[in-house]
Symmetry: C2
Subunit: 356 residues, 2 copies
DNA sequence: AGCCTCCACGCAATCGATTGCGAAGAAGCG
DNA sequence: CGCTTCTTCGCAATCGATTGCGTGGAGGCT
């Protein structure tokens, strides 16, 4: 009676025919364990079931529309085939793109993903991570690692399989772009255009992305014998208002910098707005370089020069790395190469249609 | 041996002390069934467990760091407490924002969500929906319903609990903004500014959003005795290139329209780009109205007038509606009210800082 | 022809939580 | 004081899939 009620409810709720291994076994005239083996058999060298039986059972399972119940499998094996993903905000297109890559790769590997926003808040990060773990995800992809938090260390101590993405942390496996190189590319571009007085909108100090991009940029200028004074490097939030505020400060300096490198495209857009508000022209009076090359960058009225990072690919690699680790093999960190896309915000090309 | 291995593996993988009901029961000196009841008891009318026992067991569970194993619970109850969410693209900030609302509300109700991108492709929609169902989600929130696909009808026939969000479909429960009203708001705004020759970038014909926004807009102009000719209403993709292409066509008409309503902000940005490329000025030569009021709209060099829709709220309501249905009560469709945000793209205010 | 090996499959335990039913004890009532 | 009625909890079945171990039979080898 209990069972009847439960089945009926499940049937009503999810509307799917609850085909089980037992039903297949009955129809095939074999034991349920045989069916289990036949269906899980890795086509290669799987043991214990005759090849003929395998094809026969699979055909029957297909015909009946069998779908393995993940709950039953998870209960027995202790693995859920789900990956948890933590990001600052999914409404940030950078993270959304990375997540799409993660999900695509995970899906290919037979895993589902569960995302959660943390708003880059340490307290929230902990809560969301715990919630994911309570869901028994097999591993975690963290897109919001902070250098001033010990959450990652704690998770590692608990031996939870994890991979960082976008941001790095010493001693942890991560998949990022080579942010130092990216910063250097931006610097070399500006140097080649003759800029000598430059400034940096450096992002949040707890994020390796901003820190390393800034570092690479400063190193390149220092290497060219033109060290950037500390007063010309200001921290900022990663969004438009953050970039605008930082730029308003920088434009007030005397002498005014002729170029600004923002470690993030949205901050760069804020910089461009501040330049306009100051009555100056982007690309002529002040050059602006962003980072990530989001689709919008090329579509802006004055198209934005930006360091392109392979965001989607980064997500894919992070996911496959985690899956590799879950398979018992060891994962390794990766740094993907960024490239520079030069556009009107540094080249000063304002001809109609140039943004196209 | 089997068990040992499994536990050890789980321990290594997930790194969490696998505290079970049985362990708590042993320590508390009661039966596991009592523990189960004590922990699940809705504080209101707990099912047959003494109040004292309940507090005691809960304290013990807390102390031991007990976390219910979802696999065990799902296996027994047939419910996973997971919601599936289908969206065209998570990199579209509109859908990302809606999803954040969905996830927040679901989380509050004790559900987790699993998202999937479908790229608005019918074949992919079906595959992703099946994958989610195979995961045994309790219900579905669909953000990509197409009027030219029978997927929703099929899912409904299979009695799968579902709620549509953003887009509507006749006869289905949905949570949207009042798109007809939104279109009318845009029209009334332009009418009040004296525009008599207008055009519409109408979006994809299979999406109720674009269709209804267009309808509301056309109705309002027709009601004012100024029917918009069919030649001035062109379909488009929902992105920047889509809006640009449509606008290039519209700007070639003679006489040229003095205002363009795009049913989506990104299409509107494309329209603005086309206007610039034609050597015209947005807000002076051609007024542009968008829809959704994404954060970027206000930050553009020429800030964009847009119909603001409560995207996050829409997601929240959709999720709570679905949860309500899962609880056995009946859900109902909702239409949230949009409002118009007038800015420089129609008011022609180009003073520096106006975009702020 | 006898014995050994290996293949293919069945048996049954197990994972953790939930829940209908029954029983024991307490409390209330006549 | 006996009987009825709750309250509180234990018992055991159950969900579906996985897997170590055992077994029957076929085939090979001497």
């Amino acid at each position: 009676m209990d069972r009847q009620a439960t089945r009926a409810a499940a049937g009503t709720r999810a509307g799917r025919a609850p085909v089980t291994l037992a039903q297949i076994a009955r129809q095939a005239g074999v034991h349920v364990s045989t069916v289990s083996r036949a269906l899980s058999a890795d086509d290669a060298v799987r043991g214990g079931v005759g090849a003929e039986t395998v094809t026969q059972i699979r055909a029957l399972a297909e015909e009946l529309g069998y779908q393995r119940d993940p709950a039953g499998a998870a209960l027995r094996t202790g693995r859920s085939r789900m990956l948890g993903v933590l990001v600052p905000r999914l409404t940030d297109i950078v993270l959304a793109t990375i997540y799409e890559g993660i999900d695509a790769a995970a899906s290919t590997a037979g895993y589902h993903t569960v995302v959660a926003n943390t708003g880059d808040d340490p307290e929230m990060q902990r809560r969301r991570a715990d919630a994911l773990l309570a869901r028994r995800v097999d591993g975690l992809v963290l897109g919001d690692a902070r250098s001033d938090s010990d959450l990652v260390a704690e998770l590692a101590r608990r031996r939870i399989p994890l991979v960082l993405v976008s941001r790095r942390l010493p001693g942890r496996i991560s998949v990022t772009t080579d942010d130092v190189l990216g910063g250097r590319l931006a610097a070399e571009h500006l140097l080649s255009l003759g800029h000598r007085r430059v400034a940096v909108v450096a992002g949040e100090p707890y994020a390796s992305t901003g820190v390393e991009r800034t570092q690479g940029f400063l190193d390149a200028f220092a290497g060219a014998g033109l060290p950037v004074p500390a007063s010309h490097v200001v921290p900022s939030r990663f969004d438009v208002p953050g970039g605008r505020a930082a730029a308003e400060h920088l434009l007030g300096l005397a002498p005014r910098p002729t170029a600004v490198f923002a470690v993030n495209d949205f901050a760069a857009i804020g910089v461009m707005a501040a330049v306009r508000d100051a009555g100056l022209t982007v690309g002529r009076d002040v050059a602006v370089v962003g980072y990530n090359d989001v689709p919008l960058a090329a579509a802006l009225p004055v198209s934005l020069t930006s360091v392109r990072s392979p965001m989607y690919r980064m997500g894919e690699v992070a996911a496959t790395t985690l899956v590799t680790m879950l398979d018992g093999r060891s994962g390794r960190s990766r740094r993907l190469r960024p490239t520079l896309e030069a556009r009107a915000s540094t080249l000063g090309d304002h001809a109609p249609g140039a943004a196209r």
